[in-house]
Amino acid sequence: MEFALISLLNGVTYGLLLFMLSSGLTLIFSMMSVLNFAHASFYMLGAYFAYQISGAASFWAALLLAPLLVGVLGALVERFGIRKAHRFGHVAELLFTFGLSFLAIEVVQLVWGKAAVDYRVPSTLQGTLFTLYSTSYPIYKAFMIAVSVFMLAGLYSFLTYTRIGLIIQAALSRPDMVQALGHDVPRIFTLVFAGGTALAGLAGVIGGNALVTEPGMADAVGPIVFVVVVVGGLGSLTGAFVASLLIGILQTFMVGMNYSFVDFAREIGLDIHSAPLLARLSLTQFAPVMPYLLMVAILIFRPRGLMGARET
């Protein structure tokens, strides 16, 4: 029970962090048909910027400024990179963002070195919020949830109650028609790209110190974010939200369970001596594979994703 509750909380924290990354990616993907391979790089930059700003000023300044900086960088990348590459087709665009993700890693290594940097949770947010039996729940995780929920509410209100939000929603299904109605769709693309990368930056700010800030952090999370977008369904923010939580919670539970098929068999009274390797793997060992299996299953059985508006 105690394990379940803490795992659930951890899973939700991780899931919300995934959503902060996948919401931007899914908006960019469904509106502009740009598969942005460099999306997780903006997450990494957010963490490094936050590390730098935290050192010079404070964590709170970083929380505000780092996502902003990342967003501005995103806008520049869209305006002067992706838009240029777009003229040469989707492959050029894909290669451009691919190259960009490598560039980001090289630059980060050049400036901050190959080892992890000492980006820490600020002292005001260190400590334990509550202890359940023997497990303690840190303040910082609650803070991460609070920031995520705040961001979620902000994104939802922006998309639902503002005119630009409405235009963005419409452009998710028919950007050409939105433009023919007189809306400057290229400018809105830049805005969405900036907003999406800023969210990735924010995830970096609050995730970089909870996890680890190092040059490999983009590659660690990038593939999972793609899985979330595919599982959730293209063009669907709700889908990305559900998939983020699903994968976040599932993976957290599996990591915590040292339990295999053989163990299960024993429990119900079967004693298997020569089980195949697969049956002997514990759920923990299986956890990293789970998102990709889920993606393959979705692509086979429901190619439009859980709530997708169009085919993948």
Partner: protein, 231 residues
């Protein structure tokens, strides 16, 4: 008002528009007829800046060819595509609101006016656009475009696939457009409603204008009709 001269367009290597010239005067409703594949939709898209083309398109004595679609729209041209392109997840009201280019300016049409003209849409104001019937969706697209207060509308096959009752409604809509002095280029396949409402017409075949005149001229010319229109 609109002056198209020697318009050429290509899809890859196929030469889809081969020197199309046509004009629409102020307050005039002009039909563009032709069989499927004649190049009517491409003509309209080229005017709108949705496909690239060579030649000249002048609107209010200003060259607009080469502008992006939203710039063309802001010059005062409205576009109603043949696939209707409503925003399925948004409500009828939200669809209409998206037609407004500049919320600070008041155009000739307001949401309330559209609702009073077409009570069917008013009843479904808060319904998602995607669940409307074909005829209702067509009315919604037409009205959405009018919310942008265009001086000229390009309407691509508004009656295609509609029940007779819905066709009648489209006819009423076009009458309302005409009464307000708005010009229209109306793409149709058959002679039906376009003939009752339009003053002049062009007939397209294989990417060229093959006939132009009044509806009466076309009615009198069985040879042209047989060759370019009827199956």
């Amino acid at each position: 008002m609109l002056e198209v001269k020697d318009l050429h367009a290509f899809y890859g290597k196929s030469h889809v528009l081969q020197g199309v010239s046509l004009s629409v005067g102020r307050g005039e409703i002009v039909a563009l007829l032709g069989r499927n594949g004649a190049g009517r939709s491409t003509t309209v898209k080229a005017i709108m800046g949705l496909v690239s083309a060579q030649g000249s398109v002048r609107f209010k004595n200003e060259e607009i060819l080469g502008l992006k679609a939203h710039e063309v729209a802001r010059k005062g041209i409205g576009y109603v595509p043949e696939d209707r392109a409503i925003f399925p997840d948004l409500t009828v009201r939200q669809n209409l609101v998206l037609g407004i280019k500049d919320p600070r300016k008041r155009g000739r049409w307001s949401v309330e006016e559209v609702f009073s003209l077409f009570p069917l849409l008013a009843e479904r104001a808060e319904t998602a656009g995607g669940v409307l019937s074909g005829g209702e969706q067509q009315m919604l697209t037409l009205c959405r475009t009018m919310m942008g207060d265009p001086d000229l509308v390009l309407i691509d096959e508004p009656t295609e696939g509609l029940a007779p009752k819905a066709v009648e409604q489209v006819g009423e809509f076009l009458t309302a457009v005409k009464k307000r002095g708005i010009s229209a280029l109306l793409v149709e396949q058959k002679l039906s409603i376009s003939l009752q409402i339009s003053e002049r017409l062009y007939l397209m075949g294989h990417g060229k204008i093959v006939f132009q005149g009044t509806p009466g001229d076309l009615r009198a010319n069985e040879g042209v009709r047989k060759e370019w229109l009827e199956v």
